[in-house]
Subunit: 332 residues, 2 copies
């Protein structure tokens, strides 16, 4: 469901309407009445149909959008979040993970949430991804799962090693250990979930021209180079630190499977420049597959039916592909 | 000429060979013998012809590459710079600026130099651009000219407000005044040299999502927003600070004429991702027009004839366009 005041509902309805375009079967964990009302209000012919169990979804998906109801009525309207909905938002996430954990569903795809609305209701996690990490520990009895964010598009995969931090703080907290962890988790996921037998990782330098041998900053030599060496010692084909400005053009991108970036914009600028609508947020390092559209709740346009479902559709497709590859890898 | 051990000679020969593709007439300030030898070695039929004055160049350009000789013989070979050549490298820059200052040429296009080789010979400027700023003061009696670097491609124009600094240092030195100066110089150049009557400037935030109202760093509120306000008070259409990751996709780029970026990679990542071979380095804020290919000396491939002349050709074309627009603007 995600935040019901955002565009999550309408992009899910849109995605179902484009099911002929190879959108894999999905069910929503949501309030069926609010989705039926939204479809009616937009004038979209989407038969919103209540299900009792995930197993009912595949057979009906061609003719109706299956909804596993959340435990209550959504109160929010478009652009107007309600603190009272927080328990439903979190309950939908919990149910999705539980369904995957019990083998009833193949992957979790999350619609955007609004952290402020959840915080007001007592949510205490820095974000969606961290909460999923906590659920992984609780439901899978695997504490210490390290969620690693990847943004993936057909053109490029990037992994920001630091994420939602002021730029100065990102430089301050960056360590070799963080890069090594991100590199290992990415390498494993590329093999298991992306079907790449011998992944190549490109590691971006922090400073211009990767520091030019130390004359433009020491971090490339002191933090990034040792991390790259440690990954190589693990048998991972990790290149770098590389000059970030020459890593993302067409020819350069052919040389690696994922780029590890040192800060938010170093990762987000190239992928959003290349593919603004179709990039998918993937959380690696969890015991279950989780993807998400690479955009927010977009309160400003919610309820108008103009939000593009491209990123949600890409997230659904990628989740299905990853689940098929993981199932096949795990059988071997 | 630029650094004679680099690829400057061969890309100039290549550019002349593609003169049918709308490459404007140019002359080189170089050593004619070394260029003739280079053409012969590469098996390229380029009649390298000595001239005494720039005015001889246009008439002969169709049939021969005009060379105004530097004051001595180049000693460097491909990939092997020689300290003894430094005076010739600097002399070629001086002569180019003098020719433009005296109205004999329309614009300066510089091939890449190797700073280390010049430093060993006593050169004391941080780089090419700063040296041109000093020449502007000396030859045009306009001390205090502020050179501002722009990278321009058909897709995007970016102006890095800080350039060759470690990322941490770029954050430390960034001031509102630097952004305002870069904005004013860029605005003037877009009008005078790019023919844009009412330019729109997009100013990038420093932190992720332009700091999210201060929760991800204060610089966007404390440094960048006041600079944007000051530019707007000047009557300049300056937007921002904007989230840098969503500024560079196709639709976003249509909304502005140049992006002011806060650090090297924030500017260079998007333009090199979009147009790796065809971006041009333009120095704004000088009393003469100066462009340059957006790459280095490439010692590793020098002398092989494989270096792409695309960026030099784009630099020649852009210089000619800017000169025509400036002449037309100055007549009005």
């Amino acid at each position: 469901m995600g935040e019901p005041a955002g565009i999550g509902g309408e992009i899910a309805l849109s995605a179902w309407r484009r099911r002929g375009d190879g959108v894999p079967a999905f069910y929503m964990i949501d309030d069926p009445d609010r989705l039926a009302a939204l479809a009616a209000q937009l004038g979209w012919d989407v038969p919103v149909t209540r299900i009792d169990a995930p197993g009912q979804a595949p057979a009906m998906f061609r003719d109706a959008l299956p909804i596993l109801p959340v435990d209550g009525k959504v109160k929010a309207g478009p652009g107007r979040p309600e603190t009272a909905d927080a328990a439903l938002v979190i309950g939908a996430i919990d149910r999705a993970v539980t369904d995957v954990q019990s083998g009833k569903a193949a992957a979790v795809v999350t619609n955007p949430i609004n952290k402020e609305a959840l915080y007001r209701a007592g949510f205490r996690h820095p974000g969606h991804t961290e909460y999923l990490g906590e659920l992984a520990g609780r439901l899978y009895r695997k504490p210490g799962a390290t969620p690693v964010m990847m943004l993936a598009s057909p053109e490029l995969r990037v992994v920001p090693v630091t994420i939602h931090l002021a730029l100065r703080q990102a430089i301050d907290v960056l360590t070799s250990a963080m890069i090594v962890t991100a590199g290992r988790v990415t390498h494993t996921a590329l093999q298991r979930d992306f079907g790449i037998a011998t992944p190549v990782l490109a590691i971006a330098g922090l400073n211009p021209h990767a520091g030019e041998g130390g004359s433009l900053g020491r971090e490339d030599l002191d933090i990034i180079a040792p991390a790259a060496a440690e990954l190589r010692a693990d048998g991972i084909d990790a290149r770098g630190p590389l000059a970030a400005d020459t890593m993302f053009h067409t020819t350069a991108r052919r040389g690696y499977d994922a780029a590890l970036c040192m800060y938010h914009d170093q990762a987000l600028i190239p992928i959003k420049t290349l593919d603004f609508d179709g990039a998918v947020n993937v959380t690696l390092g969890l015991p279950f597959i989780r993807t998400s559209p690479d955009h927010g709740t977009a309160f400003d346009i919610a309820g108008q039916g103009i939000a593009r479902p491209d990123s949600l559709i890409a997230a659904l497709r990628l989740a299905a592909e990853m689940a098929a590859r993981r199932a096949s890898a795990d059988r071997r």
